[in-house]
């Protein structure tokens, strides 16, 4: 099985502040990979480096066999990303935001978008500024999934979603993954990783620790959240 994501010795700092240090990580195609860690551990920095939002200091990243710097645009054609904060242009209607995302991709995703909106019970006639966080997250899910990408990257996707929509969200992920997609799931919710992920890693203070199995207990999990002085 090929790697969907290959991160090799990634280091990124923000001036004097630490971002991530020497992160090496491979995620196989078809995997649902859990990415855990406390706030500020470096999960988002890693994700944002993969997507080309950040200019990293050293290391290299390959996504779907392409170099993250040189083939940035081609990579994004095959990626569906859902950021932790789902922000869109406030003046747009939901339908306009979804269509805009498809139009920029140069694709007609109308059928898939309609199916997703129906399953997530998303009212496409409302304006973005009228939506709650949960509903904005639904828009973000549709924008990330409507073009049926090869790779999904979700950054804390379930915060703000009600339990029923969370269940539907994971059903959708499983469907796309069973069709050949790969999923990187960054989350604080251990139960999601235990239940849905095949492999997992935890970040702490900018460094990565791979887990033998995503099926870990609460105590082991929480150890990564304590400060060194707490231990």
């Amino acid at each position: 099985m090929k790697n969907a994501i290959e991160i090799s010795h990634l280091t990124k700092s923000y001036g004097k502040n630490r971002g991530v240090i020497d992160v090496t990580l491979n995620i196989k195609e078809g995997d649902i990979f859990g990415f855990l860690g406390p706030n500020g551990a470096g999960k988002s920095t890693t994700i944002r480096s993969i997507l080309g939002f950040l200019k990293f200091d050293s290391g290299n990243i390959k996504v779907l066999g392409m170099d993250s710097v040189k083939d940035h645009v081609n990579i994004l054609k095959n990626v569906g990303y859902m950021p932790s904060e789902a922000w869109f242009y406030n003046s747009m209607k939901v339908a306009e935001a979804i269509k805009y995302a498809a139009d920029v991709r140069g694709l007609d995703c109308g059928e898939e978008a309609e199916k997703l909106c129906k399953r997530l019970k998303l009212d496409t006639n409302k304006r973005i500024k009228e939506l709650s966080l949960g509903n904005r997250k639904k828009v973000s899910i549709v924008c990330a999934m409507q073009h049926k990408p090869k790779l999904f990257i979700f950054d804390e996707p379930t915060s703000g979603l009600d339990p029923l929509i969370q269940k539907k969200f994971f059903e959708l992920i499983n469907e796309y993954v069973s069709d050949g997609a790969t999923c990187l799931l960054s989350t604080h919710v251990l139960s999601e990783v235990n239940k849905y992920c095949k492999n997992a890693a935890i970040m702490r203070e900018g460094r990565l620790a791979l887990l033998d199995s995503p099926d870990i207990d609460d105590d082991t999990f929480l150890k990564f959240y304590y400060d060194e002085e707490d231990l």
Binding site: F53, Y81, E85, R105
Partner: protein
């Protein structure tokens, strides 16, 4: 790039209409008021044209405000210069940083479009909006001349509006560069740049020692009184404008392509 451009135009359409109609209608009203002020203007014109540096600064020594052309140059010219400069500054200074300020950057940049394409679409939308602003105001001013049954000095008028457009682009390019390196809305700074540039021009025309430095400012070559009285355009000022505009845009591409994008 096309979709990003169209989205920018759509999102800024309201601001474009509000600013262009406000400035254009103010100019139109000024022109229409000319008739009721015509009698008083004749008495004031001589006094205003003999106020030394003050008359020079506001162009009243070269054109008589007792004529519609002179009145247009001194009154509407000032309104349009300030209004258009502020509009260009506001649009350009927020067009890139607004994505980060409004947290929409992650949505936009997760789509398969390069930073260069985003910047090109945004630069093109600033250019289009500035051009549309100039055209809308120009039509309203021309209508004012028509309502007054006065002949529009077409050549000088077109030259004035063209120079104003170039001045808007120069200010817009500086603000566009600032927008590319800032993750926050800097509208106050944009307006400040437009006003300081205007103030520099006024001071430069009043203080004799500064007259040689006038060409540095963007208002030097776009002065209504000079253009409408048929004086030559300040070529040095235009050359500086082209250099500043190109540098502003190139710097925006250079820095934006190398920086981290905020969430």
């Amino acid at each position: 790039m096309r979709n990003v451009y169209l989205k920018e135009m759509k999102m800024n359409l309201k601001a474009l209409l509000i600013w262009s109609l406000t400035v254009g209608l103010m100019g139109l009203c000024c022109i229409l008021l000319y008739k009721s002020m015509q009698g008083d203007m004749k008495n004031m014109a001589d006094a205003f044209s003999n106020m030394g540096a003050f008359s020079d600064a506001f162009g009243m020594s070269t054109l008589s405000i007792a004529t519609l052309k002179g009145y247009f140059a001194t009154e509407v010219g000032t309104v349009h210069s300030l209004g258009s400069a502020m509009f260009a500054a506001i649009v350009a200074i927020n067009i890139i940083s607004g994505e980060e300020e409004g947290h929409t950057g992650e949505f936009l940049y997760s789509l398969p479009v390069s930073r260069k394409s985003v910047l090109s679409a945004k630069a093109l939308s600033v250019l289009s909006m500035t051009a549309a602003f100039t055209v809308i105001c120009g039509i309203l001013y021309a209508l004012g001349f028509a309502f007054m049954n006065e002949e529009l000095p077409v050549k000088e008028f077109m030259l004035f509006m063209g120079c104003q457009f170039v001045m808007n682009l120069e200010i817009g390019a500086v603000c566009f560069w600032i927008s590319s390196i800032s993750g926050k809305n800097r509208m106050g700074l944009g307006i400040g740049i437009a006003l300081i540039a205007y103030l520099f021009d006024i001071i430069g025309r009043v203080v004799p020692d500064l007259k040689d430095c006038l060409f540095v400012g963007p208002f030097s070559y776009a002065n209504a009184s000079e253009i409408l009285s048929g004086q030559d355009i300040r070529t040095a000022g235009l050359i500086v404008a082209v250099v500043v505009t190109v540098l502003g845009i190139v710097a925006a591409y250079y820095f934006y392509d190398r920086r981290d994008l905020a969430a």
